[in-house]
Amino acid sequence: MSTAITDPNAVDVRGVDKSFGRFRALDGLDLTVRTGQVSGFLGPNGSGKSTTIRILLGLLRADAGRVRLLGGDPWRDAVALHRRLAYVPGDVSLWPNLTGGQAVDLLGRLRGGLDRERVRAFTERFELDPSKKARTYSKGNRQKVALVAALASRAELLVLDEPTSGLDPLMEAVFTECVLEAKAEGRTVLLSSHILSEVEKLCDTVTIIRQGRTVEAGTLDDLRHLTRSSVRATVDGDPSRLADVEGVHDLAVDGDRVTLEADHDHLDGVVRHLSSLGVRSLVSNPPSLEQLFMRHYGEEPAGAGNGHGGETS
């Protein structure tokens, strides 16, 4: 059912502002999702993730800036564009007197086509009991209903707003599988999430926002290069001179054991110096997404990383 894809970007948001009364929810936000990729969308609570997604769905209108979704204007062309996407809200609310199965079928029909075979398959994979009334479902089960409806849809674009926040680890693994399959089928995924390991596993690119602004965007590799690796080593020689080596930060020496943070551009020099001391063991870890994330949220808002705005690899 996917129509010819001409646009290289499934989502293209540039400098979008949105205020609610006096509260400025988005402040020049940029977000790009390339067609066929899985893109992570990160930010603390209240940073504007859901607002951005609602603008992309044409539920809210941007005050300023440019918003393109699947080559169209999500406010004006909402219905036509919605035939090509599926959405899972962060807090799924269902009709209390419909069963989960009825809700899945209904959402499929409203989207413009219901593939019963796919619905059955995903219902089984997520171990959803479709005959229970929605009012008896837990948060996780309500999320499964929305996920089954979205994944079964064959939509070109999946917009997922914290879709796993209520799922148990087993179901999270099923979800990861399903997203990877969707990607293999050539579908585009925008995944807003708090679970960094999930984003690391699934996402080609990541956009980090804070207080309605994009603070970091690019592939995970790109982002890692902007920061430091942590290095742990045991050496024979005296490690104290390491402090003078360019690119070394947070050096801690405990006898013959050393831990330090090294700038990526100077990693080579650091390793050479270590090696000259006689290395008995060496572990180097790239920064985890968590470290990246913390770096942005630990510090004050003062325009952190504003220069990287929105350019993906």
């Binding site: 044409g58 919605h82 799924v92 069963t99 199965g101 009825q102 209904l106 005959s131 009012r135």
Partner: protein
């Protein structure tokens, strides 16, 4: 743990949360009474005027909305107040108590907030106790203020006290009725519906009893609506019927307590059953979804309105008998017997329109609930546009309002036709109800208009509905000026079957309703969706 632990805190919490709501109810009800006393006193200054009014109260319509008719022989200010105000006060109190108790018990459980409280050192009975105590306090305060306004105007203190106390205690009984109903269903909405149904049956019991026999028969005595007037204030006061209120409240309270002990938090006595694993062929679009969500309510309201209207219709022979036995009455009221039956039915027809109008407003209001809950967000992220989403919701509201209106008219006509053995009434009353349809649709249309343009102001619709009901029920009696009467949605069109149908105002009114709905629909397409 003590089942009532934490009740004190919860009472303060209820009072804090509802300080505005409670004040409005107390002030509105007591102001109606305090304002009516001088108004009635000024309006009926001579014995002749008062006896003319008494004759009117002796008609079936008078008995339905007045009472069993004590003190009509010498219709002074005291008996007049008791006859003219009691039903309005009691119906308003019933609405207040049911809404208050459901809001603070079942609705809290349904939302999950009760779970949060029950996890704190709060006993299992604390929440219902706090709801009942605050409701009872408000009822008794209203009763005390009613007493104060009557005694303050110079009416006999003992009779005023009995009347005020009776009004307050009747409110308490309605609160306990609601407490029983909240135990049965899992849903606040259903619980309130059940409670209103019980209140309606109790009201009808008094009406049928009182119409059948002057002073009421055994059926009247089954209803708390009757007891306050059976104390006969200002007409040979008897205190003992007031004892029926605490007795009934105690019995119902024990019943609620027993039922509560048999269920878990959040569960109803009637458990939820599993349903179909997939949507049937009928559930395929927005119209069918809206309809599916409301079918239970539409059927319940239609059935309730039909039964009420039917039972009012069957009173028609009593109207005839009454007029035959008292030819003076026909002279006072003017016109022939058919006209008098017609004017009785026309008045009841207005109440059918009130019911249908309230349902229409509630029906459109569901769109608001869908939006706040986030279900609209999910549906609007599919290939459903704003116009289709709200448009189908409005269509369902219009059809349901029309259905309730027609069914009410049909019930009224059918009851009359069967008892008078004159089949023409069925068509006549169905037509009469339809002729008032724009008034019933007006409230839903206003909700739609505000929903699209300024959702914050939707509560204004309830103010208008409340005012319209008040003006239509009491406006004539209180001598409201024409301009003020015209603000009532029910006073804009002629009342059939006594008045002639007039196409021009009908079409104009209908046009205004359509425009309001269309503006709301268009505005909704242009505003941001609000999800709480």
């Amino acid at each position: 743990m003590n089942a009532l632990a934490g009740t004190g805190h919860l009472i303060r919490f209820v009072l804090r949360r509802d300080r505005l709501r409670l004040s409005v109810w107390v002030i509105a009800l007591t102001a109606t009474v305090a304002g009516s006393i001088p108004a009635l006193d000024d309006m009926f200054t001579t014995d002749a005027e008062r006896q003319g009014r008494a004759a009117l109260m002796d008609t079936p319509t008078g008995i339905v909305f007045g009472g069993p008719g004590y003190g009509l022989d010498d219709y002074q200010l005291g008996p007049m107040l008791v006859n003219e105000l009691t039903m309005t006060l009691l119906i308003a109190l019933a609405v207040f108590n049911v809404l208050h108790v459901v809001r603070h018990t079942r609705a809290e459980e349904e939302s999950g907030r009760a779970e949060l409280l029950r996890a704190a050192p709060v006993g299992s009975g604390a929440q219902p106790a706090a709801a009942l105590i605050t409701a009872a306090a408000a009822d008794l305060l209203i009763g005390a203020l009613v007493f104060a306004s009557m005694a303050g105007y110079g009416l006999t203190a003992a009779d005023s006290l009995a009347y005020g106390l009776g009004i307050g205690l009747a409110g308490v009984v309605f609160a306990v009725v609601a407490a029983v109903c909240t135990q049965i269903s899992e849903h606040g909405r259903t619980a309130a519906g059940t409670a209103f149904l019980v209140v309606g049956v109790l009201f009808m019991a008094r009406v049928v009893g009182d119409v059948s026999e002057p002073g009421g028969n055994a059926l009247s005595w089954l209803s708390p609506f009757a007891w306050v007037q059976q104390t006969r204030p200002f007409d040979g006061l008897e205190w003992w019927p007031l004892a029926l209120y605490p007795a009934a409240a105690a019995v119902l309270f024990v019943l609620a307590h027993i039922l509560a002990g048999r269920r878990d938090l959040g569960a109803g006595l009637i458990a939820t059953r599993p349903g179909p694993a997939g949507a049937g062929p009928l559930l395929r679009g927005m119209f069918s979804l809206h309809l599916h969500q409301q079918r239970g309510a539409v059927l319940t309201w239609s059935a309730a309105v039909f039964v009420l209207a039917l039972s009012f219709g069957t009173l028609a022979p009593e109207v005839e008998t009454m007029i035959d036995s008292n030819p003076d009455l026909a002279v006072i009221l003017g016109g022939d017997t058919d006209d008098l039956v017609g004017s009785f039915l026309g008045t009841i027809g207005l109440y059918v329109l009130m019911g249908a109008g309230a349902f229409g407003a509630l029906s459109v209001l569901r769109a608001r609930a869908e939006e706040s809950a986030g279900r609209a967000e999910m549906v609007l992220s599919t290939a459903v546009g704003r116009t289709r989403w709200l448009g189908t919701a409005l269509l369902v509201a219009v059809l349901a309002t029309a259905l309730i209106t027609v069914v009410g008219g049909l019930g009224l006509g059918l009851g009359t036709a069967v008892t008078l053995e004159d089949g023409a009434w069925t068509g006549r009353m169905s037509g009469a109800a339809l002729a008032g349809l724009p008034a019933a649709l007006a409230f839903g249309a206003l909700v739609a208009l505000l929903f699209g343009t300024a959702p914050r102001w939707i509560p204004l619709v309830w103010a208008w509905l409340g005012y319209s009901v008040f003006a239509t029920m009491l406006g004539g009696l209180l001598g409201l000026p024409d301009a003020a009467m015209r603000v009532s949605a029910f006073e804009i069109l002629p009342t059939l079957p006594t008045d002639e149908f007039d196409a021009a105002p009908f079409l104009l009114y209908l046009g205004a309703v359509v425009v309001a709905g269309a503006v709301g629909l268009a505005a909704f397409g242009r505003r941001d969706l609000v999800t709480s």
